[in-house]
Symmetry: D2
Subunit: 384 residues, 4 copies
C-alpha cells in the first residue's frame, strides 16, 4: 500500500537539505508526497523559496503562513505556537501516514508537536547533531518526539541512541543536502556569476578570480550582540582585500541587528569589493561555493556540503559548536584579526580533500526507501 | 535579588503536584510567585481548579483559555499550539526569571516551548520518569528543553542524566504531591465522606466501611478503545461487590469514550454500590485515599502518593508502565476477571508499609530553595 | 465558467437553515460547492452535525476545529478570533469565488472577516433581521462586510438598504430553512416518535397525543441569569401538565447555566412527563414540530419555520425581540405563570393558518441561482 | 467611580490620531488609562511607534504581537484573527469598563470584536467617514459593533445615525489628530529639518525653501498595481523639480509593491532632489507639514490635519474617495502628468484658509469627557 509522506518545508535551508529526498519520495512507487510549505519559505523577504519549489516542479499540498513579526524571542515563540495550530488542521485534512521534519530551526518544532500529538509517526532528518543554544535544545527535543531517526553521521546516530531512542529506529542516511552538492559539482564546467541572474548590490566581482562566500547568521541566544559580531566579520573580510559574495541573514531573533551592521558598512564603504545577495536558488548557491576560494561565517553549509566539496571554511563563533568537522574547517572567534588571518591561511592552502562525513551523494533515495519500508509506529519508551 | 518564578498550572493533577512548592515559593524571601492558570484548570467541566487555587489564597497573575474543543488528537495538538501562542504573550508581560512546568500533560509542552524559545530558564518538575505513549514523548522532550531538572526519584535523575543533561542541573527533590499527602494523613482523625460536600451521583457509600477509589483515564494513543477499557474496570469492580468512589476522567483524547462507558453502566445498574464524582479538592481526595481499602485504575496517584501512604493499589493497563513502584502496587491488564481478582487480593492484604520512593513530605521547600539558589542559565549542550 | 461557492457551516441551526440551498448549489450546473464544517458543528457535545452532513451525502472540503472551551464571553471572543485565523488558511487553499455565511451566530463573523479581508466576495444569508443583544450587533456588522445580501423577508431587505447597502445587492429569497419544513410537512403521514431513534432521557411521551416542543437558549449578554430563565420555563411547562419534548441548549455563553437548571429539575422531578433530547436530525426535528401542539422557548424556529407550518408558538424573553412575526407567535416574559397561561391558550387555539413571511419553500434554488448569476464584486461604499 | 478606559493602538497613524485624547484620559480625574500597544505599532520596520509612546510618557499595560508576515490578503486576515485571540486574553486580564478603537485599519476590527463579544462597551473614534475598499467595510462594520460613536464631522454623525445607530450614542468630537496639529503649528518658530534627527537617505533638502511632503500607501484591494501607482507619483514629483520629503508606506497588502517602486526609482535617480524617510515622530511630521508647500499622495493627513493647517494637498487616486474635504484639497488620478500639473498649481496658489471641518484643536478633552460621562451600555438594536 502506498504511504502518504507529508514533508513540511519552513525555510530556505531546510528546502536545500531535503530536496533530493523530495525527488526520491516523489519517484518512489510506494510513496505519495504531500508537500507543505510554511513559515519563512513563503515570504518575499526571505527569497520566497516557494517559487523555487514550484519551479522545481513539486506540487504544493498546502501553504501555511505562520511567521509572526517581531524578530524577537517572543514573536519566535508565538510563531512556533501558531505553526502547531495551523499544521494540526493541515494534517487533519491531509491524513498522512508519516510526517517528515527537518533539522532544528525553531519552526520545525511545530511540525514535530502537531504530528506527535496527532499520533502520526514522525520522521526526523538530521537529528543527533551538536551545535549550540536554542537550536540544540530544539533538535534534541524533536528527537524525543520522533519515531524514526534519519541521521547524517555516525556520531549523530550514537548520540540519538544514547538519548534513549531504540537503535532499530536510527538510520545513518547521510545528509540529502550533500546529494545536491555532488550533483552540482559534477555538472559544473565554468565559473558561476550570480550577479547576472540575481543582481545583488555592491561591487562587481569576477568569479574567475579567487573570491570568498560569506554567510553569517545571528545566534539566537545572543541576539543583542548580532551587530557586533557581523561588524567583526565585515572588518576582517575588508582587511583581507579578497572580493566577497555576501548573503543577508535568515529570519531569526537578531537578524535585524545583523542587517543593520551590513547596511552601516555599505554606507561607509561604497567601494569595497563586496557584493550583497538576498538569496540564491540552492543549486546556484552551490555553484558559487564550488568556485569559491573559501567560505566564511557560521553557516552549516561550511561544515556539511563543503566537507564533501573540499571547500576551505572559516567557521566563526559558537553557532556550529560541537558539529563533527572534516579537515576543511578551521574555527575562530568573533575577532576581526583572527578572522582575517584565518581567511588568508585557508585561501593560501587551497582546495581540501573530499570527505564523506556528512554524506556520499545518495542520501535522498536512502531516505525515501526507509520511509517506504521502515516500521511506522508511535509507541516508544526510553530504551533504558 | 528576588527572582520572579512563573508557575503555569494547566490541570487538576498538576496543581496537586505543585501545591506545596507554591506555598514554599510564596513564603521564600528571595522569590516572587507569578501564578498562571490555564487550559483545563479554568474549566467548569474539569472541576474548575481555579476556584480551589483562589480558595487556597494564591494570587493569580493571568488566566489563559487554551483548550480547543474536540477531545481528539487534532484538537489536542491545536490546544498545545494555542497555549504557546498565548503563554508567549503572558511571559512577555510578566518577564519571569524562571518558568516552572510540571510533569508531562500535553499542555505542559506549551509552557516549555514558550519559555525556552523566549530564552527564559525553564525548570521542569517530575522529569525523567517512565510511563508510556504520548506522555512519555512529551516528558522527555520537555527535559531536552529544560535547564533545571527537579526530579522525584533516583531512577528519574539517572535517566535525565543519561539523556545528556548536565548532572549539575539535576536535583532529586521528591514529588511535592507527597508533601500534601503527608500533611493530610497526619491530620486525619475520622473517615471522610465526600458526598456531604461534593454530592456526586449514585449509591450512598459508608466511608467507615471498606471502599475502593477508582480513577481511570483514557490512554491517549489508544483513545478508540477507551470505552472497552473502562467497561472492563466497571465489570470488575461490580464483581467484587466492594463499594466504590469513582471519578470521571480528565479532558484528553478518549475521555468521551470513557464517559460514555460510565454513563452506559449507570443506566443499566442503578443500584450498584458505586458513587460517581466529578472532582474533589486535592486534600479531600487524599482524605478519601487515606481511608480507602485500595485504589484501582491507572492514576499516577496510586504509584506516587500511595507509596508514601501505604494504600494498596491495583494498576490497570499501560498508562503507568515503567514508573518505579513501591510494594503497594500490583499490575493487571484490562481484563475484567484479572482486575477483580487483584482487587480482592489487595484488599485482603491490608495496608502496606510506607515508602519514601516518591518523596518524604518536604519536597516543596526543597524545590523553592533550588529555584532561589540554582544557577539559572539557558546555555546547554548534550553532556556527551 | 463555474463559480466555486464556499459555504461555512458552524452549528446545527446554520446547517438546517442552509441545507436546501446546499442541495441546490450542488445541483447547479454553474456552481461548485466547497463545504467547510467548523466550530460546534464538529463536536459530539452539540450533536455532531458533521455526521448528519455526511449522511446527507455532502462532500466536506475541510474540517476546522475552532471552539475554545470556557463557555464565557472571553472564550467566545477567542473562538471568533481562532476561526478567522483558521478560515483564512482554508480560503487560501480552496480559492473560492464567493463565500457564503449564514445568519448571526458569533462564529459566523469569523467567516465574514476572513473572506472580506481576503478580497473574496461575501454573500450573507439572513441579514437585516432584528433580534437583540450580541447577535444583533454581529448580524449587522456582517451586513457591512458583505457584498451580496440574500435576505428572508421584505422587512429585512428594507433594513439592509437603510443601513447603506446598494439596493441592487439585496435580494429577498425567503429562508431556506422553510424549504425543508415545507418538504417535511408534505411528506408526513403519521406521528413521529423521536425516542425510537434518538433515545433521550426521561418520560415516555406518546406522539399521537398533544405534546409541546421546548427549546430555550441562554441569551448571551445575560448569561448569568440563564439558569433562572430556564427554571421559569421548566416550572411553567410542569404546571401545564402537557407532555413535552425538551432540547438541550447550543454551545454559547450561559449554556452551562441552562444545562445546570435542566439537570437540577430532572433530579427533583423524575416522574415529570418530559423527555430530554440532545439533538435531532433537522428533518426529524421538523417532523416533531409538525406534530406538536405548540413550540415553547426562544428558538427562531418558532418564528420562522412555524410561521409556514402554522404551529402555535410561545416565545419567551428577549432573544427573538424585533423579528417579524406571523400570527402563530405570542410573546411572554420569563415568568412562570405567564408562560404556563400562554401555553394553555395557544394549545387550545389549535393550528394557525400558514404564512409565507419567512419563505414559500423555494428559497434554496433561488439562492443558488443568485450565487450563479449575481455580479460578484468586493467594491462598495455607503449608498448615501 | 473611576472608569477604566482601555485604548488599543495598533499603528503609527492611529497613535497620532488618538494622542491628545490619551493625554486627556490620563489627566481626567474619573478615568484610568489602560494603554495596549499591538500589531505594527510594535515593529521596527514600521518605525516602532511603541518607543515614541514610551518617550511621550505613557505607561503601557500590555504589548501584543499580532502581525503575521506575508503582506498579502491572507496574512492580513490571519493577523486580524490573531488580534482577536490575543486581545480577548488582554481584556480578560485588564477588565476595562470601556474599550476604545480608532478609525478603520484592518487590525482595529480585532479590538472591536474582542470587546463586543466580551460584552465590554466599545467606543469608536472616527466612524461614519467615507473612503473606499476594505477600510470602508471595516469602518462601518465597527460602527455596528460599537456602543459609543465619537465622530469627527457632522457628515460622519449623519451617516452613523442613518446606519441605524441611536442618535444619543453619536457625538461630534472633531478628530484628536487636529489637536496635535494645532499645538505644533502654534509652537513653530523656524523651518524643521528632519534629516538632522532622522537621517533618511537621498538628497539634502533645504527646509527653508519650498518642498513637498509625499506619502502614498498601497490601496488594499488593488495591491497588485501598487507599484504602478507609486511609479506615477515618483515620475510626477520628479517632473516638477520641487524637492520632496518622501515616506515609506505602512504595513499593508501591497506595501511590498510600493517599496519596490521606490527602490527602483532610487537606483536610477541617485541625484533626484528627494529624501526618503521611514517614519517621523507625529509632532515632527506635523512640523514638516506646517513648513511644506504642499502634501502629495493619498494620506488622510492631507484631508484632515491639513484642512486645519491650510496646507495645500494633491490627493491621488481612490484611497480617500468620499471623505469630506476642505478647500485645501484637489483630487487627481494615478496619472503622472495630471499629478505634476496639480502639484505645480497648488504650490503656486500658496497656503489655504484654515477650516475646522475635522476639528478645532480641542477634541481630546471632549473625548475624555464623553468617556467619563456617557452612559455605557452594550444593549442596542437598529434604531429603525
Amino acid at each position: 500500500m502506498t504511504r502518504k509522506v507529508c514533508v513540511v518545508v519552513t525555510a530556505r535551508p531546510s528546502y536545500s537539505r531535503i530536496r533530493s529526498a523530495l525527488v526520491a519520495i516523489e519517484a518512489h512507487p510506494d510513496l505519495e508526497l504531500q508537500l507543505v510549505v510554511a513559515a519563512s519559505a513563503l515570504l518575499d523577504r526571505y527569497g520566497q523559496v516557494v517559487t523555487q519549489i514550484e519551479h522545481d516542479g513539486f506540487a504544493i499540498a498546502e501553504r501555511v503562513y505562520t511567521i509572526i513579526e517581531g524578530e524577537n524571542p517572543t514573536s519566535m515563540a508565538k510563531t512556533a505556537g501558531l505553526g502547531v495550530l495551523e499544521l494540526a488542521t493541515t494534517f487533519d485534512n491531509l491524513r498522512p501516514d508519516v510526517v517528515v521534519t527537518i533539522a532544528d530551526r525553531y519552526e520545525t518544532m511545530s511540525t514535530a508537536i502537531a504530528a506527535s500529538y496527532m499520533n502520526i509517526p514522525l520522521a526526523h532528518v538530521q537529528g543527533g547533531e551538536v551545535s549550540g543554544s536554542i537550536d540544540e535544545k530544539v533538535r534534541h527535543a524533536i528527537t524525543k518526539l520522533s519515531d524514526l531517526h534519519l541521521v547524517a553521521t555516525p556520531g549523530a546516530a550514537e548520540r540519538v541512541i544514547r538519548m534513549g531512542e531504540y537503535p532499530s529506529s536510527v538510520h545513518i542516511t547521510g545528509c540529502p543536502s550533500v546529494d545536491l552538492a555532488a550533483e552540482v559539482a559534477a555538472a559544473m564546467t565554468e565559473p558561476f556569476d550570480p550577479s547576472l541572474e540575481y543582481g545583488g548590490v555592491g561591487a562587481d566581482i569576477n568569479p574567475a578570480r579567487p573570491y570568498l562566500v560569506v554567510m553569517q547568521h545571528p545566534v539566537t541566544t545572543e541576539h543583542e550582540v548580532a551587530k557586533d559580531q557581523v561588524d567583526a566579520t565585515l572588518g576582517a573580510v575588508h582587511d583581507t582585500g579578497i572580493p566577497a559574495m555576501w548573503f543577508w541573514p535568515n529570519v531569526d531573533a537578531g537578524s535585524d541587528g545583523t542587517s543593520r551592521g551590513i547596511r552601516a558598512y555599505r554606507e561607509h564603504h561604497e567601494d569595497a569589493p563586496i557584493r550583497f545577495f538576498k538569496n540564491l536558488a540552492p543549486t546556484d548557491f552551490l555553484r558559487l561555493l564550488v568556485g569559491s576560494a573559501a567560505i566564511v561565517g557560521n553557516s552549516s553549509v561550511a561544515i556539511r556540503e563543503c566537507a564533501y566539496l573540499g571547500v576551505p571554511a572559516v567557521n566563526i563563533g559558537s553557532r556550529q559548536a560541537g558539529r563533527e568537522r572534516a579537515v576543511n574547517v578551521v574555527d575562530v572567534d568573533h575577532d576581526r584579526d583572527a578572522i582575517s588571518k584565518a581567511i588568508l591561511d585557508r585561501v593560501q592552502g587551497g582546495r581540501c580533500a573530499p570527505d564523506p562525513l556528512y554524506g556520499d551523494g545518495a542520501s535522498g533515495p536512502r531516505i525515501a526507501d526507509l520511509l517506504a519500508t521502515a516500521e511506522l509506529t508511535i509507541e516508544k519508551r526510553l530504551a533504558y
